[in-house]
């Protein structure tokens, strides 16, 4: 984990289509929220991208870098108090596992969708 103790993986399931769903819990007391933002803790979008990458790393058992992000949409605000638990669904192309797509959701809300390319570190 790049940013130590930022979140914890609470559950991991592999779906019949080969995709993975990770359930993560955010650490509301993390130092990141002292600076993003003072008086208004909001989970930085790049930190949710980092969580996606670390779930892909776990799924593929490799250390990875996003070499390309074709599109990443942030569709709802993640806050450590308002959305402390998130589901991260990651799918890797069966023919080319460097092609990754991911969705972060909880209940009816989609927080982020991402499609990109990873390379091994």
């Amino acid at each position: 984990m790049l940013i130590k103790d930022f979140y914890a993986i609470e559950n991991h399931t592999t779906e019949s289509d080969g995709s993975h769903i990770y359930t993560v819990k955010l650490n509301q007391n993390h130092d990141v929220y002292k600076g993003h933002f003072p008086q208004k803790p909001i989970t930085p979008g790049v930190c949710t991208i980092q969580m996606i990458k670390e779930c892909v790393e776990d799924a593929q058992s490799k250390r990875l870098t996003f070499t390309a992000i074709d599109r990443c949409r942030l569709t709802a605000m993640v806050t450590p108090s308002g959305s402390p638990v998130l589901n991260i669904k990651v799918a890797c192309d069966a023919a080319d596992t460097t092609k990754v797509s991911a969705t972060i959701f909880y209940g009816e809300t989609t927080y982020m969708t991402l499609s990109g390319t990873v390379a091994e570190k």
Binding site: L2, I3, D31, V32, K34, G35, H36, F37, P38, K40, I42, P44, G45, V46, C47, I49, Q50, K53, T65, F66, T67, A68, I69, D70, R71, C72, R73, L74, M77, G116
Partner: protein
């Protein structure tokens, strides 16, 4: 030749609401109504640094805060309040050379592609020692 720095270090805090440990711009070289040029020296203490290398997510945050610096400066110069800005969308991010290392000076140039209501779309290019590290397009939502 060293570039002229308009604002550096704590001077950047006039324009953006991010604070340590999430402050990812430490220099403002130039700014207008249409473009901005910022910098960041990668410190070993940066929370996006691991094994002496800045993560691509840290680089993206630097680009996002460069856009925030652009918006914040233009609000400040026009005597408007500085508001929180969020990434709405990242498109066509491409890493073109090795990620910055501790001690590297990142320089980022961004230009406005379009602006509508509270959404600004900007083009970004980040370089280290004149070599392009990454490019992307970023949509920023300003919470006005």
């Amino acid at each position: 030749m060293a570039k002229t720095v308009l604002y550096a270090g704590d001077g950047i805090k006039t324009f953006i609401p991010q604070r340590e440990p999430m402050l990812m711009v430490d220099k403002l070289f130039s700014v207008s109504e249409n473009d901005v040029e910022t910098g960041l020296t990668v410190a070993d203490s940066n929370i996006f640094v691991e094994d002496g290398v800045l993560s691509e997510t840290g680089l993206i945050e630097h680009i996002a805060q460069s856009a925030a610096t652009f918006a914040g400066y233009n609000d400040w110069i026009n005597k408007r309040p500085i508001v929180l800005g969020y990434i709405a969308e990242i498109k066509k991010f491409a890493l073109q050379s090795a990620l910055p290392k501790t001690g590297d000076n990142i320089e980022t140039y961004m230009t406005v592609v379009s602006q509508a209501m509270n959404i600004t779309l900007m083009n970004a290019e980040s370089k280290v020692n004149g070599v392009t590290v990454a490019v992307c397009k970023m949509k920023i939502f300003m919470d006005k």
